[in-house]
């Protein structure tokens, strides 16, 4: 096994009384796409900032590219690409200029930065926007520009904090496609998300984080296998009826979860469960059989939904 590029052991970040990150340990291998999945406030961004060498840890051990971020901040950052949760592109500069000034921050010669900027504008599908004002770009374009900017120094690790939050579905898919290409080229990706579909699309492996702690670790498929069933049957009987019906379907499938608006039945075959329900004389208003997802894993692990 190659030497990991990120090693976190018992990482802690405390702000006065509040513990944002409470003993997180994981390793990321070179070329791997690793995710931190969890709800808002789980400590994902704080963890990212510590790895990005812009936040001093309270305790624990952290090594990024073999170096301690506390002592070698600039050296580590010179090898990272960072896509922060909030775009901080320079609104006073044009699209291409944003890449030019950023490339210089890494000490790259002007000619090389200019060449790289043009390549990246192509990659980010923004070549025709090179001379545009950043403010005139759509949300998805700004995000792609931020990713292009993060790639200007050919980073060994790309850190993405909530890369598609706030984007419409089409913009998300374009972005995923770009990230997937990077993954194929062997860039190590570390991303945080509270979207399970994003984690399933992009992550080879992930940790589920809640309240600053790791709840589970594994590949998306592995986690689903371990903490959920193959399929999930979702039925709605109306908000007043759900609780009452729940009593009658106890023992269905592997597990039943009653949520305020719907009931989830975890099973290898959702169809079978639905037939059994119908045979028992139960008539749900709506029913849906779907593949199990990381959302179900999260619900199982924490008893809560990811997006609340």
């Amino acid at each position: 096994m190659p030497e990991p590029v990120i090693v976190s052991q018992n990482l802690v970040k405390r702000y006065q009384d509040f513990v944002a990150v409470d003993g997180i340990s994981f390793e990321v291998a070179p070329g791997e796409s690793f995710g931190l999945l969890g709800p808002n406030g789980a400590g994902k961004s704080t963890t990212m900032r510590m790895i990005g060498a812009v936040s001093t840890r309270t305790s624990g051990d952290l090594s990024v590219l073999g170096l301690d971020p506390n002592a070698y901040g600039p050296e580590i950052r010179s090898q990272l690409g960072v896509v922060p949760q909030e775009n901080n592109l320079d609104m006073e500069l044009k699209v291409r200029e944003n890449l030019l000034v950023y490339g210089r921050y890494f000490g790259l010669p002007r000619a090389r930065v200019a060449r790289r900027a043009d390549e990246l504008l192509e990659f980010a599908q923004l070549a025709d926007k090179a001379g545009a004002k950043v403010d005139d770009l759509s949300g998805g374009m700004k995000r792609r520009l931020t990713i292009a900017r993060a790639l200007i120094n050919d980073p060994r690790i790309l850190l993405l904090d909530e890369p598609t939050t706030g984007l419409d579905p089409q913009a998300r898919h374009i972005l995923w496609d770009r990230l997937f290409r990077l993954k194929e080229q062997g860039t190590t990706l570390l991303l945080t998300t509270h979207y399970m579909d994003e984690a399933e699309q992009l992550c080879d492996r992930l940790v589920v984080v809640d309240k600053g702690r790791i709840m589970a670790e594994g590949s998306p498929a592995d986690l689903i296998r371990r903490y959920s069933s193959r399929e999930v049957l979702e039925v709605r009987f109306g908000s007043t009826q759900n609780a009452e019906v729940a009593g009658r379907i106890e023992g269905y499938g592997e597990r039943v979860d009653v949520l305020p608006d719907r009931i989830l039945v975890y099973s290898d075959s959702g169809e079978n469960e639905l037939e059994r329900m119908t045979a028992a004389g139960l008539r749900p208003i709506t029913s849906l059989v779907r593949r199990s997802s990381l959302e179900d894993v999260f619900l199982r692990l924490t008893g809560r939904n990811l997006i609340e």
């Binding site: 812009v54 600039p74 950052r77 090898q79 922060p84 901080n88 500069l93 000034v101 000490g107 900017r149």
Partner: protein
């Protein structure tokens, strides 16, 4: 992995401040017209208004060698030169800092690269110093054109103005770096710090004309120290050498304190 430590250490660590300055220059280029217009327009307007209007009134009443044995224009011009540096400082060390931390948080973007917080501040100081120097040189050229510089060492007043602007600006920059939100503080600085400072720093009349209980404003004002020193070079205003040294030391101290303080605040604010 070890090679990373050796090979990448240097360039960005050493030149980071210049890269930030480059970034600022690029932004300034987008409002270069404003920079040049104010740099050319303000000496023109001020020197003309004071040289033709106010000076003729003062000289008419008090004689040609009204103040310190020189014309009123020659007395006033070095002070206006120092004020023009203060004007650049009050523009470039306030809103751009607020912008970088809050409204368009580019400082966080810089900090995510190999740039260090202190280098962000250095780069801003370098870029503002450049703009200030251009402004002061243009102002000085107009002073020459208006015949407002009798002394042979007048050009040194440009450097004095630069020091004055940076000394004041560094403090303003540090203060701005403490602000989490702008709820009018920066406008208050304009109104209750910069304006009174201009009025009570011996700009339009010597400080000793003021009643003693108001003179202290001049003594703590970087503008007064800068103005007095400028006059020494512009027309040989009589002043004991120790007092000239005090001016330099005072301004240099303010600059150092503001600069270090701003660097520290920035490091704290960017490390979340």
């Amino acid at each position: 992995m070890r090679s990373l430590r050796r090979s990448r250490r240097l360039r960005d660590r050493r030149y980071g401040s210049w890269y930030v300055a480059e970034h600022r220059f690029r932004i300034m280029r987008s409002y270069a017209q404003t920079v040049l217009f104010t740099a050319v327009g303000s000496p023109l307007v001020y020197l003309y208004a004071t040289g033709v209007g106010l000076a003729s009134l003062v000289d008419g009443n008090l004689g040609d060698n009204a103040v310190n044995g020189v014309s009123y224009l020659a007395f006033l011009a070095p002070a206006l030169l120092a004020s023009s540096a203060i004007a650049v400082a009050s523009e470039e060390f306030t809103y751009p800092i607020m912008l970088g931390f809050k409204w368009n948080p580019t400082f966080f973007g810089m900090n995510a690269s190999s740039i260090q917080p202190g280098q962000i501040i250095n780069g801003i100081v370098i870029s503002v110093a450049a703009r200030m120097l251009i402004t002061c040189v243009i102002f000085y050229v107009f002073m020459l054109v208006f015949g407002a510089v009798p002394g042979p060492l007048g050009f040194v007043a440009v450097l004095v103005a630069l020091l004055t602007g940076l000394a004041f600006g560094a403090l303003v920059m540090a203060y701005t770096a403490t602000l989490k939100d702008d709820t009018g503080q920066l406008a208050m600085v304009q109104r209750f710090v910069i304006l009174p400072m201009t009025l009570f720093s011996g700009t339009f009349f010597p400080l000793d004309v003021l009643p003693p209980y108001l003179q202290w404003i001049g003594w703590i004002s970087p503008l007064w120290h800068g103005t007095e020193l400028s006059r020494v070079f512009a027309y040989g205003m009589p002043e004991p050498i120790w007092l000239s040294m005090v001016h330099v030391l005072y301004l240099a101290t303010l600059l150092a304190v503001g600069w270090v303080w701003a660097r520290r605040l920035t490091a704290e604010r960017l490390n979340k």
